[in-house]
Point group: C2
Chain length 334, copies 2
DNA sequence: TTGTAAGCGTTATCAG
DNA sequence: CTGATAACGCTTACAA
């Protein structure tokens, strides 16, 4: 920066002013001269120095607690990150991604915040509810701005989520209206906030229809993959009194369930109905096309990023929440 | 850090030494005392200050040039990023993601590097070959360490890729052996290095079998989605002399092609064979199960990250390349 | 409108 | 082994 100042024959102060778009503090001529000098020298401001001085990084951290090693291989996670990424880019923020396992309580997840690498954070948490709560309390206690993708938090916490519970309710009610009475629910072993909501909605619908809940039909096992879904659904279908409908925690699991059914010579949806959640790109194109609940992951990411940046820039007061509607996609599988 | 030093009754220098694991520069007793002081004060090193002083960020940038707004919604991209992310985490690097559109040549993509936000970069480029080459030359000229996911580069450039060409050759040869002579090839409108290789392999196999290439059967249109794949494949299937096999640029496109076929009352694979690339999670579970070429995206990411970090840490000389084998997955669709 | 100088929290140098 | 001191490149008072 000093070089630029020298070359343009001004003070570093003026160069700094230009970089920070305080144009009213200089004549147009000066501005042009400095701009030219910056160009000629290929000058680029040093983010570290700026951060050190201003305690502002221009970076947002996406903090994820996930069981799997390949956490970014999950389609829903990706959709959310994509939404955040687009907004961040448009509003000139960088995005830093950091993952931790849902193991022992540790602040390692917050390194980007603690080390002054990021101004604020997105919390995408899985694991037991108390552990999630601990993370949220911790980051709040540290005084950072953040938003959680978790509606089961204190109202003061910024939160973004979809109406998974209502979606599950609608889906299961639909199945019940189609005459199903033995409805299974499957999800991964690792707890996720949205899955808890889906499960709650499932129970809501059963209760409302007066169907007694059968724990044998609720399986929380494996991971979020089609292969895992096939194994879990297979076990359910091998039950002496097998379910007539399987509500899978997401579309990948549903895909596995369809496979498990066909391996057993069962037709979908005639012998067993299968439904999923998320409406991933492939859902409409598999056979039979998947009945599912569309979760607007990309839009969730956008909403979270917009809210957080607004708050950082003083345009929104903390304590906001966003709940996005979901859409029941009735296709052929259920 | 000064607070810690005061509390422990040592100099800041000693604290710095501890933080940087130069344990031989202090007695065990000092070390314990400083560690305790750090703990009590909840001290955390400031990354900006360290970066400013040491010109090292501990951050790697993933730079992607992609047409789509939702660039992170692409499964292959995600797999690669997941592989990078895991290695980065294990070796204590943060990952910064930055995207740009393949529009006018601009250095905006390199902001993380130029602004000293990252030490090195992964280049995941799409777009016309000259544009990709321009980006690579540019970042090389700027003197940063980087690795490209692109084998069509000068040998001095670090590159990581899969053997897409050989995979395509094997796949198409298989189809030809099954008696197909009218083989279509589809891909998105936006060029990608790996797709160029797949297309080249397709042409290799045709040439070897003495089949004359028919440009009418090669469609580069739309985006990487099942819906887009259905449209493109549909057009091909409506041709007066329609192909008997469709080699889709990836599995999503293949899924769309299967849908397009079934909409036209064509059976897969009896009336038209369909094959894809990538072997996404769902490929094995759709109906009919997809014949595809497995591209080890996650492993590509790991290889790139491992190589780049090794190089940064002086354990590998620049100019390395990694080519990972692919696997032909013969299932029922072709 | 421009210039000067202090200081952000580290690390490196060099003397004790 | 420890302590003082000078950078790193920028922002921000405050002075001119």
């Amino acid at each position: 920066m000093r070089d630029v100042a020298v070359r343009a024959g001004v003070s570093v102060q003026t160069v700094s002013n230009l970089v920070n778009e305080r144009f009213h503090l200089m004549t147009d001529k000066t501005r042009a001269r400095v701009a030219q000098a910056m160009d000629e020298l290929g000058y680029h401001p040093n983010v570290a120095a700026r951060t050190l001085r201003s305690a502002r990084t221009g970076t947002l951290a996406f903090l994820i607690v996930d069981e799997g090693a390949r956490f970014l291989a999950d389609p829903m996670t990706d959709l959310v990150v994509a939404g955040i990424g687009d907004v961040a880019r448009d509003r000139d923020y960088a995005l830093l991604i950091r993952a931790a396992r849902p193991g022992p309580r540790s602040s390692a997840l917050f390194e980007p915040l603690l080390g002054n690498r990021a101004d604020a954070a997105f919390l995408f948490l899985s694991g037991p509810r108390e552990l999630r709560a601990w993370y949220i309390e911790r980051v709040a206690a540290l005084g950072f701005d953040f938003v959680a993708f978790d509606h089961s938090t204190a109202p003061a916490v910024n939160a973004v989520g979809a109406d998974d519970r209502e979606g599950a309710r609608a889906l299961v009610t639909h199945l019940i209206e189609r005459g199903h009475e033995r409805l299974a629910f499957t999800a991964s072993a690792a707890p996720w906030p949205m899955v808890e909501l889906r499960h709650a909605g499932y129970l809501d619908a059963l209760a409302k229809a007066g169907i007694v809940r059968d724990p044998a039909l609720e399986a929380f096992a494996g991971v979020w993959s089609a292969a895992s879904g096939a194994a879990v659904a297979g076990a359910l279908l091998d039950l002496p009194n097998r379910p007539t409908a399987i509500v899978a925690g997401n579309d990948l699991l549903a895909l596995g369930a369809i496979r498990a059914a066909s391996e057993r010579g069962l037709r979908v949806p005639e012998d067993v109905a299968v439904a999923g959640f998320d409406d991933f790109d492939f859902a409409e194109f598999v056979r039979p096309p998947l009945t599912t609940v569309r979760i607007p992951g990309y839009e969730l990411g956008r909403a979270a990023a917009t809210g957080l940046i607004d708050q950082l820039e003083g345009r929104r007061a903390p304590g906001w929440r966003v709940t996005l509607p979901v859409e029941l996609c009735l296709r052929e599988s259920a």
